[in-house]
């Protein structure tokens, strides 16, 4: 189903759509306040963008440097070309260690690879330990936002869900009560887990270490109890030097939630004594994007979600309307790179306002890339016939000034005389909630020429 249809369905519950819009606007406002506290904000963005451009320009070298340094620290490094290979690698590691129960902290990469259902099919219990992730996991839904996975759920929704799955009181909506119930529930899961899996926010080539940012400390607990830690990362998560980290950590949480820094920024440099640490480096289409000049900077993305919080379309249509593991503006660039036909409506789910580009902490020209994707999709033949035909017709008229003027004249003469039902009907989406413009007696060109004639 295309984005417009799903967005239309979402907006039918106007109250919920307005609530979603206001909730995310509040996050955007917090981001504005946090960014404004740093006089060097714009130069930080510029620096981050340049570091990423540099990294991506020598990505193969940096990846090998990272691998060498990680191995030297006793880490086992794996390479996965695509999602399937990633899932197989993770399963194999888990099976070799006899793991039956796995706790995960937030990882968009494993969403991308559909790791959970894969492991569950192979008899492994998977528990997402980030509160928002756990909520959507219990609901049997994908996350609707990359930083705030359950942002589409109200307190009442969560109360109902926890009543059903965790045995909390029916009708409970108190956030403290519900969070405490989740904490107790997750505590049991942490204690009984055989292995912990995390994502990676930043991997550092020069040290072979990596950093995981969370607000709940769930990554730390998840990998500190069991002996086995698996970290999964897309190959674009790399930065060259440890000192580059300061640039990104300052941008990430401010952009994401308006916090100066995430509550936990956990650094991992090799396995703990007696334990094992595995890193899975995943390509899954990234090197394909790397090869495209116009879309390369989309690999700069640090998954802060700021483009979603600022996007006026995302805020009103909800993350699920995008049907992509990364929704919103950046997702609408990444998704068609994977499957242009399936995601053809996403680059059109945008008014080209450019707010995403201005908010992006690593200066990805998001709205320009969305426009380029429209060109690409039209070239590939994935433009709806109605738009293609409409634009062909408009192009034909606009190339003929006489026809354009005549068409305007006829419309100005005819349309105002038409009965309302001939103008406002189901084939005119403009007129569903809006009046058509009132036609003037004459066009500007006519008025201008009359004036010139009078002057002579």
């Amino acid at each position: 189903m295309n984005h417009a249809t799903l967005a239309g369905e979402y907006i039918q519950d106007r109250e919920r759509a307005a609530w979603h819009d206001n909730t995310l606007w509040f996050v955007r406002s917090k981001r504005d306040k946090a960014a404004a506290t740093l006089p060097e904000w714009e130069s930080l963005r510029q620096t981050a963008s340049q570091i990423k451009a540099h990294t991506v320009s020598k990505l193969a070298d940096f990846l090998e440097e990272f691998e060498r340094n990680a191995i030297a620290r006793g880490v086992k490094v794996h390479w996965a070309r695509h999602a399937e290979e990633h899932n197989q690698i993770v399963l194999k590691i888990l099976q070799e260690h006899g793991v039956k129960k796995l706790v995960k902290s937030k990882s968009m990469l494993t969403e991308e690879c559909h790791l959970n259902p894969y492991l569950e099919r192979h008899g492994i219990e998977v528990v997402d330990s980030d509160l928002g992730e756990r909520i959507v996991q219990l609901a049997g839904e994908p996350p609707s936002h990359i930083v705030l996975p359950a942002i589409h759920k109200t307190k009442a929704d969560v109360g109902d869900l926890f009543h059903k799955h965790l045995g909390t009181e029916a009708g409970a909506t108190d956030p403290n009560y519900l969070a405490e119930a989740a904490r107790q529930h997750l505590r049991d899961k942490f204690m009984s887990a055989d292995a912990g899996l995390t994502g990676v926010n930043f991997a550092i080539a020069e040290t072979g270490g990596f950093v995981v940012c969370t607000n709940e400390g769930n990554a730390d607990l998840g990998v500190s109890l069991p002996k086995l830690h698996i970290a999964c990362m897309g190959i674009e998560k790399l930065i060259p030097r440890a000192k580059d980290l300061s640039v990104f950590l300052r941008l990430l949480a401010r952009s994401a939630t308006g916090q100066p820094i995430t509550t936990y920024s956990s650094h991992f440099h090799g396995p703990r004594p007696g334990g094992e640490l595995h890193i899975v480096l995943v390509d899954n289409g990234r090197s394909h994007i790397l090869g495209k000049d116009e879309f390369r900077t989309s690999l700069n993305c640090i998954r802060c979600g700021a483009c979603m919080n600022t996007c006026p379309v995302f805020r009103r249509s909800g993350g699920h309307s995008y049907q992509s593991f990364v929704p919103g503006p950046i997702g609408s660039i990444l998704a068609p790179a994977r499957d242009p036909q399936k995601h053809a409506s996403l680059p059109q789910a945008c008014s080209l306002c450019g707010s995403c580009t201005d908010v992006c902490p690593v200066k990805i020209n998001i709205h320009e890339q969305l426009l380029l994707w429209r060109h690409e999709l039209a070239r590939l033949g994935f433009l709806p016939w109605s738009k293609r035909l409409g634009m062909k017709l408009a192009g034909f008229v606009f190339r003929r000034p006489w026809l354009y003027s005549l068409g305007g004249k006829i419309a100005r003469f005819v349309v105002p005389k038409l009965p309302r039902f001939l103008v406002y009907h189901r084939l005119n989406p403009w007129g569903k909630q809006r009046e058509m413009p009132e036609f003037p007696a004459s066009s500007f060109r006519e008025q201008f020429q009359q004036r010139e004639a009078k002057r002579k």
Binding site: P312, V359, K432
Partner: protein
């Protein structure tokens, strides 16, 4: 007298001639000779933004040919000027005259502030005005600072409006959120588009605006469509009309 080639967006030509006339008045009062190349139709943005590159190309070439002779090219639209300055590159890269065209093409308020250096206006406008900052002018042409960026705040439209006696520009809770027009977006994503528009109107009426204005008639066409359907008591005027002293 320096010459201005007047670039009037196709839908302004056909639907809002008074906006074009207000633009002519402002430019002539500033001492420019205004020409209207009558072979102009559309800059091609609707086709380009839909992805139809080949429908756009001939229009870009025609535009260059028509507007090359003038000292300046001015349009009462940030969006259409952004098409020429920021996106014609795609169609006219390396074509002789294009580099000059880009440099001499201006949005109206930008031209009045940066070239004319207008510092007084003879008319009063004793109304509470809501300024809608159209996205392409704001974020593609940088006619003002956007709320996302941490830079010193400015707005060329506001600077000009404040030259008018008695004007009161009302504060909005979301000073530069998109109205939801977005070209074909307005019909292809009708539900989101209309909700965005309704939210903008609500922000302006809550702030007590009597008149809503913007640099781009396209945003205002969409917003006015919603306003007229709901009979909301809010007047809509293009900024050129206000600056030229047209009555409310």
């Amino acid at each position: 007298m320096p010459s201005v080639g007047l670039f009037i967006p196709c839908f302004v030509d056909q639907l809002y001639p008074h906006v074009g006339m207000a633009t002519v008045e402002l430019l002539e009062r500033a001492g420019y000779t205004v020409h209207f190349p009558s072979q102009q139709t559309c800059c091609g943005q609707p086709m380009a933004n839909t992805g139809c590159v080949e429908e756009t190309r001939p229009l870009a070439h025609k535009f260059l040919e028509l507007f090359s002779p003038f000292d300046y090219v001015v349009a009462p639209s940030g969006s259409c000027v952004a098409m020429v300055r920021n996106h014609y590159e795609h169609y006219l890269h390396g074509v002789p005259g294009f580099a000059e065209l880009k440099k001499k093409t201006f949005e109206l308020t930008e031209f009045l502030v940066d070239v004319v250096k207008l510092d007084k206006l003879p008319h009063a406008f004793p109304y509470r005005v809501g300024l809608h900052q159209s996205c392409h002018g704001l974020r593609e042409l940088r006619l003002g600072s956007s709320s996302e960026m941490m830079v010193a705040p400015f707005s060329k439209a506001r600077q000009l409006l404040q030259l008018m006696e008695g004007i009161q520009i009302v504060p909005l809770t979301r000073p530069d959120e998109c109205c939801g027009f977005g070209g074909t977006f307005a019909v292809a994503e009708e539900a989101v588009s209309c909700m965005m528009g309704e939210d903008r109107i609500h922000d302006h009426t809550t702030a007590g605006a009597q008149v809503m204005t913007a640099n781009d008639m396209s945003c205002l066409m969409h917003l006015q469509g919603l306003i007229r359907r709901k009979k909301t008591p809010l007047r809509v005027m293009h900024i050129a009309e206000i600056l030229a002293g047209h009555p409310v």
